[in-house]
C-alpha cells in the first residue's frame, strides 16, 4: 500500500510518543507559513484514503513543516502510523478553521488537556506564554506514558499539574479532580482552555461554569471537506447549528451541546469497525512501523 502513496507531502520526522500515539513533521511549506494556534489540517494518506482532520500541534515556517500528533484508533490512523520518515502522504491541506483569539483582560490562564488533546492545546498555550500571560496547565491520561508533550508544556507553562487514572503520574483520578482543587485554591485563574475527549471537555466546562470562569474548547468532529461545503461537522452552540470547520474549531465551552457532539461521533461506528477489521485481517495486526 505504501507504494501507492503519491510523492507530495514528505514525512520529515516521526516519533513514537506512546504505544498508541505518534508524532510526525510533514513538509508543507504553504501550510507552515500561514498556520496559527487553534487551526487544523486535513490529510489524506493515499488515493483511496479518507480525509482526516487533525489539530496542528506545532509549525515551523522556516523549515516549512507542520507537526501532527495522532492516536491510532481506526484503519486510517493505523495506516498513517506505518509510514516512516522519507515516506509521502498524498494530500495535506490547511491551515483550516479560525485562529484562537487572545482572551483580552485575562490574568491567569489555565489549560486543561487530555490524551491527544494535549498537543492540540500546546500551540495555544505557547502563544499565550509568548504574549506574556501567566499560564498553567492540567494534563491527564490513562497512565504516565499517555500524558504526552510534558516537556514542551512545561517549557511554556508556569506550572503543570498531572492526573492519571492509575496514579502513575500526579494525582490519581481525572483532570477535573485536579481542576477542582486548583479552582478552590487559586482565585487568580480567570480563563480556561480545554482540549481533549468530548466527555472530558464536557466535565471541565460543567465545573468551570459553576465557578463562573469563561472557558473555550476546541472541537474535533467528523469532517469531509473542512471548508464549509458539507456540514458533516455541525454541532450546536447556544441552541444554534454551527459548522466546526468554518465557525470553529474553538467555541465557548459553556454553550456547546456536548451530548449531541458525542452522538454525532457515532455516525459511522459500524463502518469504522468493518474497515478496521478488514485492515487488521489483511495486515495480520502486527504490521507496525518504527
Amino acid at each position: 500500500m505504501r507504494k501507492r502513496v503519491l510523492r507530495m507531502y514528505r514525512i520529515v520526522r516521526k516519533e513514537v510518543l506512546n504505544p498508541a500515539v505518534k508524532l510526525m513533521d510533514i513538509e508543507a511549506p504553504r501550510v507552515a507559513k500561514s498556520a496559527k494556534p487553534g487551526q487544523f489540517v486535513i490529510l489524506r494518506i493515499y488515493e483511496k484514503g479518507e480525509r482526516i482532520p487533525l489539530t496542528i500541534a506545532d509549525y515551523d515556517p522556516g523549515k516549512g513543516t507542520v507537526t501532527i500528533v495522532f492516536q491510532e484508533v481506526g484503519k486510517s490512523t493505523k495506516l498513517l502510523g506505518t509510514l516512516n520518515e522519507g515516506d509521502y502522504i498524498a494530500d495535506f491541506v490547511g491551515p483550516l478553521g479560525n485562529t484562537m483569539e487572545v482572551p483580552k483582560g485575562a490574568k491567569k490562564i489555565l489549560g486543561v488537556g487530555g490524551g491527544v488533546g494535549i498537543p492540540a492545546l500546546y500551540p495555544k498555550l505557547k502563544m499565550l506564554h509568548q504574549e506574556g500571560y501567566k499560564v498553567e496547565a492540567i494534563l491527564g491520561g490513562r497512565s504516565e506514558e499517555y500524558v504526552i508533550f510534558r516537556k514542551e508544556m512545561e517549557a511554556v507553562c508556569d506550572k503543570v499539574y498531572y492526573a492519571t487514572d492509575d496514579g502513575t503520574l500526579g494525582k490519581k483520578g481525572f483532570v477535573t479532580d485536579v481542576l477542582k482543587d486548583v479552582l478552590e485554591n487559586d482565585k487568580e485563574v480567570d480563563f480556561v482552555i480545554t482540549v481533549g475527549p468530548v466527555i472530558m471537555m464536557k466535565n471541565v466546562c460543567k465545573m468551570t461554569k459553576e465557578y463562573n470562569i469563561p472557558t473555550i474548547v476546541s472541537m474535533n468532529p467528523l469532517m469531509v471537506d473542512g471548508t464549509g461545503m458539507c456540514g458533516a461537522c455541525r454541532i450546536e452552540v447556544g441552541g444554534e447549528t454551527k459548522f466546526v470547520c468554518m465557525d470553529g474549531p474553538i467555541f465557548d465551552g459553556h454553550l456547546v451541546n456536548f451530548d449531541l457532539a458525542m452522538t454525532r461521533l457515532n455516525m459511522f461506528k459500524k463502518q469504522e469497525k468493518i474497515s478496521l477489521e478488514l485492515y487488521e485481517k489483511e495486515h495480520g495486526g502486527g504490521h507496525h512501523g518504527r
Partner: protein
C-alpha cells in the same frame, strides 16, 4: 426535407442501472449521430447559437458530422467550448440551444447536446487534440477554483498564451463536476480527460490550496507575481431548513452525501476508506437537479429499499431537468409533492426515526414566477424514514471576500461584478455560482469565458 423523428439514445435498463453507478446514457454510434445530424436544416441565421452561453457554432459542427468529418466537428466546438464532453452530458439544452431550434415548430428539436457529446467522446477516444500554439505572454494569472467557470476561464487564457495556475481547495480537480454530479450522469474519467487537455495546453495546477486560508489573493498578487486573478469558487455552502431534529444522525446535506459518494467514492466502501451510512427508507428534500442526483445515488446504495423525494410545490414547478425527473421515475424513485418537512424525529440514541411533514397548496406566483406554496393547517402527517438528505440549494462561501482587500459582495454573499466579471478591485475577476448563486454548469462556463476576455483586455492595457 421531411423531418424524421429524433434518433433516440440508448440507455442502461433501469432495472440494471439501479444496481450500479455506471453511466445511464450510452451515447450515439457514428451512424446514429450522422442520422440525427442530417435532420438539421442548416438555418442561414441559426437561432440555436444565440441560445448557447458559450456560442458554440452549432450548425457548422453538425454539418461536419453529416460529412463524417468528426475531427473537424471537434475543432469547431472546442474553438469556443473548453468542456464539450461535459456540456454534452449536463447542459440543460432544452432550455437553451434546443429550445431555439426551428424544428420545434414541426416536431422535436435537433439533439444538439447528444451530438456534442458524440463528437467530444469521439475525440477523447481517438486522442484528437486541439491545435493551439499561441505566442507565450509572460504574464501570470491565478484561477481560484477548478469547477466549470475556472476551467473555462483557464482554457481560454491558455489559448491566448497566458501563464495560468489553477488553485483548488480539494485534493481533486473539477469542482462540482467531481464532487457534485454523480458518476452515472457524468463519469469522472470524462472530467479527468477534459482537465488533462488543459494541462497539455500548459495549465499549472495546485491542489490542496484553500485560498483565503492557505494563501490569500493579496499574497498571490503581491508576493507571487500574479497579475490577475479569477475567482470561480462556486456556491458550496449547503442550506438546512432550521427545523428540529436536523442534527440527528443520518441527516445529510446533499453536498455531504454526494461528496462522500462522488469525490470520496464511498459507494465503493470498504475498498475506499470513506464510509456512508444509510438506512432502508431515504427522504430527499428538494426538487432540483441536486435532489435528483442525491435520490438516484441513494437508490443505488446497498440496503436502501425506497427513496422518496419530498417537494413543497408540484411536479410542474420542479426546477430539475425533465430528463433527470424522467430517469428518476423510471428507476422507481417515489415523489411526495406539495409536502414540506416540519420536524425530524429521532430514536433515544440520536438516529433518524421518522419525519413530520405538512401538506401544502399553491397560492399566487412569487418573485420566481412559480406559485408560492402555502401550508394547509392541520394537515400534518408522519413519514417513516430513517435517512434524510437536504437538497435545498447552496450559497457562496464568504471566505475569499472576507480575506481579500476591496472585494464587494451582495448581502447574500455573492461577489459583485460587472457584466464581464470585473470585481470592485482592479485585476480581480469573478464568475459562475460565486457571483450568481447556484445556477448551471454552462452559465458558469459562459461567465468564465467572458472573464477571460476581460482579463486579456485588462492585462494588455496594463502598461
Amino acid at each position: 426535407m421531411a423531418v424524421k423523428d429524433r434518433v433516440p439514445m440508448r440507455e442502461q435498463d433501469p432495472k440494471v442501472r439501479i444496481k450500479n453507478f455506471d453511466e445511464v446514457a450510452l451515447g450515439y454510434t457514428e451512424e446514429e449521430a450522422i442520422l440525427e445530424a442530417s435532420r438539421c436544416l442548416q438555418c442561414p441565421n441559426p437561432t440555436c447559437v444565440a441560445g448557447c452561453p458559450v456560442h458554440v457554432r452549432i450548425p457548422e459542427f453538425i454539418k461536419a458530422i453529416t460529412e463524417r468529418k468528426f475531427e473537424e466537428a471537434y475543432k469547431i466546438i472546442t474553438s469556443t467550448n473548453s468542456l464539450p464532453a461535459v456540456c454534452g452530458r449536463v447542459c440543460p439544452q432544452e432550455e437553451q440551444c434546443e429550445k431555439n431550434c426551428i424544428l420545434n415548430r414541426i416536431g422535436k428539436p435537433i439533439a444538439i447536446g447528444r451530438l456534442e457529446r458524440f463528437v467530444a467522446d469521439y475525440a477523447l477516444q481517438n486522442n484528437i487534440e486541439e491545435e493551439v500554439k499561441p505566442e507565450k505572454k509572460n504574464k501570470k494569472v491565478a484561477i481560484i477554483g477548478s469547477g466549470p467557470a475556472g476551467l473555462t476561464c483557464a482554457g481560454d487564457l491558455l489559448k491566448m498564451g497566458y501563464d495560468v495556475t489553477i488553485f483548488e481547495a480539494l485534493h481533486a480537480l473539477g469542482g462540482v463536476l467531481t464532487y457534485g454530479i454523480p458518476e452515472f450522469r457524468l463519469p469522472k474519467r470524462i472530467v479527468e480527460a477534459e482537465i488533462e487537455r488543459l494541462k497539455k495546453l500548459g495549465a499549472k495546477v495546485e491542489t490542496n490550496v484553500v485560498v483565503g486560508k492557505t494563501v490569500t489573493i493579496d499574497e498571490l498578487m503581491e508576493e507571487e507575481g500574479f497579475e490577475a486573478v479569477f475567482i470561480g469558487t462556486g456556491a458550496g455552502l449547503p442550506r438546512f431548513m432550521g427545523i428540529p431534529g436536523e442534527n440527528l444522525n443520518r441527516v445529510y446535506s446533499a453536498n455531504e452525501f454526494l461528496t462522500r459518494i462522488n469525490l470520496m467514492k464511498a459507494y465503493k466502501f470498504p475498498e475506499y476508506d470513506t464510509p456512508i451510512a444509510v438506512g432502508k427508507r431515504v427522504a430527499v428534500i428538494g426538487g432540483g437537479n441536486v435532489a435528483m442526483d442525491a435520490a438516484r445515488s441513494a437508490l443505488r446504495l446497498e440496503g436502501v429499499e425506497e427513496v422518496i423525494v419530498v417537494y413543497r410545490r408540484s411536479k410542474e414547478e420542479m426546477p430539475a431537468r425533465a430528463e433527470e425527473i424522467e430517469h428518476a421515475i423510471e428507476e422507481g424513485i417515489k415523489f411526495e409533492f406539495l409536502a414540506n418537512p416540519i420536524r425530524i424525529n429521532g430514536t433515544e440514541d440520536g438516529w433518524v426515526k421518522s419525519m413530520d411533514v405538512i401538506r401544502m397548496k399553491l397560492g399566487e406566483p412569487d418573485s420566481s414566477g412559480r406559485r408560492r406554496p402555502i401550508e394547509i393547517p392541520g394537515s400534518e402527517f408522519t413519514m417513516e424514514v430513517d435517512t434524510v438528505i437536504m437538497a435545498l440549494g447552496t450559497s457562496p462561501n464568504r471566505l475569499i471576500p472576507s480575506t481579500t482587500k476591496d472585494i464587494q459582495v451582495q448581502k447574500w454573499g455573492g461577489i459583485i461584478t460587472d457584466e464581464d466579471g470585473r470585481t470592485s478591485r482592479p485585476g480581480v475577476f469573478a464568475g459562475g455560482d460565486a457571483v450568481t448563486g447556484a445556477a448551471t454548469v454552462i452559465l458558469a462556463m459562459g461567465a468564465g469565458k467572458k472573464a477571460a476576455k476581460a482579463i486579456d483586455e485588462y492585462l494588455r492595457n496594463k502598461k
